[in-house]
């Protein structure tokens, strides 16, 4: 009676549906995303450093640049660099953590 009814509930709803697309990212894609992000970040840091150097040069040559703009640009470059260094440190730490795992 009830046991038969359980069978007739509709087992299709409990079966995992294979028709929906899965959102799983392969490890390769995850690596690519991270590499992209790291490269973007390094380019950003490079741009910030170049911008800061340009401003400093203008300051040295006495051109028409505001003092606070120079200070802000140099601070931005410094923060961007610290951030990238920390990301790199964490990535290296994670790698070392994994390498330390006994096989």
């Amino acid at each position: 009676m009830s046991i038969q009814q359980i069978n007739s509930i509709g087992m299709e709803q409990l079966r995992p549906s294979t028709t929906q697309p899965t959102n799983k990212i392969s490890p390769y894609d995850a690596q690519q995303n991270f590499a992209e992000m790291l490269k973007e970040s390094i380019n950003g840091v490079n741009d910030a450093q170049i911008q800061s150097d340009n401003m400093t040069n203008k300051l040295i040559n006495g051109e028409n640049v505001e003092l606070h703009d120079v200070m802000i640009a140099s601070e931005k470059a410094s923060i961007s660099l610290s951030l990238t260094m920390e990301i790199r440190n964490k990535a290296v730490e994670a790698y070392q953590e994994i390498m330390r795992m006994p096989v």
Binding site: L59, G62, V65, E66, L67, M71
Partner: protein
């Protein structure tokens, strides 16, 4: 960055020059022999400065024409020092004076000490105002150097 300081520096120079002209007037308040022309000594004539705003050259006009906004300007300068030859000086009756004319009158310089003192006070006040602006500017820049230093 130093544009604001240049503006104030130009103002300080101008007021200093104005003060020099005023002191020259005050020093020569009794000078009957200032210049020798037409075979006669002429008395000292009062000098004054003409002030003019310094623009930034062609770029300021171009900017103004394109934006319909003013440009900041570059301070003040003395465009010329003019001599007041029209106002006659006071005539003093002193026939024994070596510079007396036929009627026995000596022409004194047309310098009015009271007016010079008023000009002097105005120049001093402007100078002090500019010094205040300069100090404020310097303190702003010093605090800008502290960005990121904590």
């Amino acid at each position: 960055m130093f544009q604001s300081m240049n503006i104030t520096a130009s103002a300080l120079t101008t007021q200093r020059l104005r003060m020099d002209v005023i002191s020259s007037n005050m020093a020569n308040v009794d000078t009957t022999r200032a210049t020798f022309d037409d075979g006669e000594w002429q008395p000292y004539k009062r000098k004054s400065v003409v002030l003019e705003t310094k623009g930034e050259g062609f770029s300021s006009f171009l900017n103004t024409a394109m934006n319909r906004d003013e440009s900041v300007g570059n301070g003040v300068t003395v465009s010329s020092i003019i001599q007041d030859d029209e106002t006659p000086g006071e005539l003093l009756y002193d026939p024994d004076h070596p510079d007396a004319n036929e009627d026995g009158y000596v022409e004194l310089p047309n310098v009015d000490p009271l007016r010079e003192m008023v000009d002097l006070m105005s120049a001093t006040r402007s100078y002090e105002g500019n010094v205040t602006v300069f100090n404020a500017n310097k303190s702003m820049m010093m605090s800008a150097l502290q960005i990121g230093k904590s």
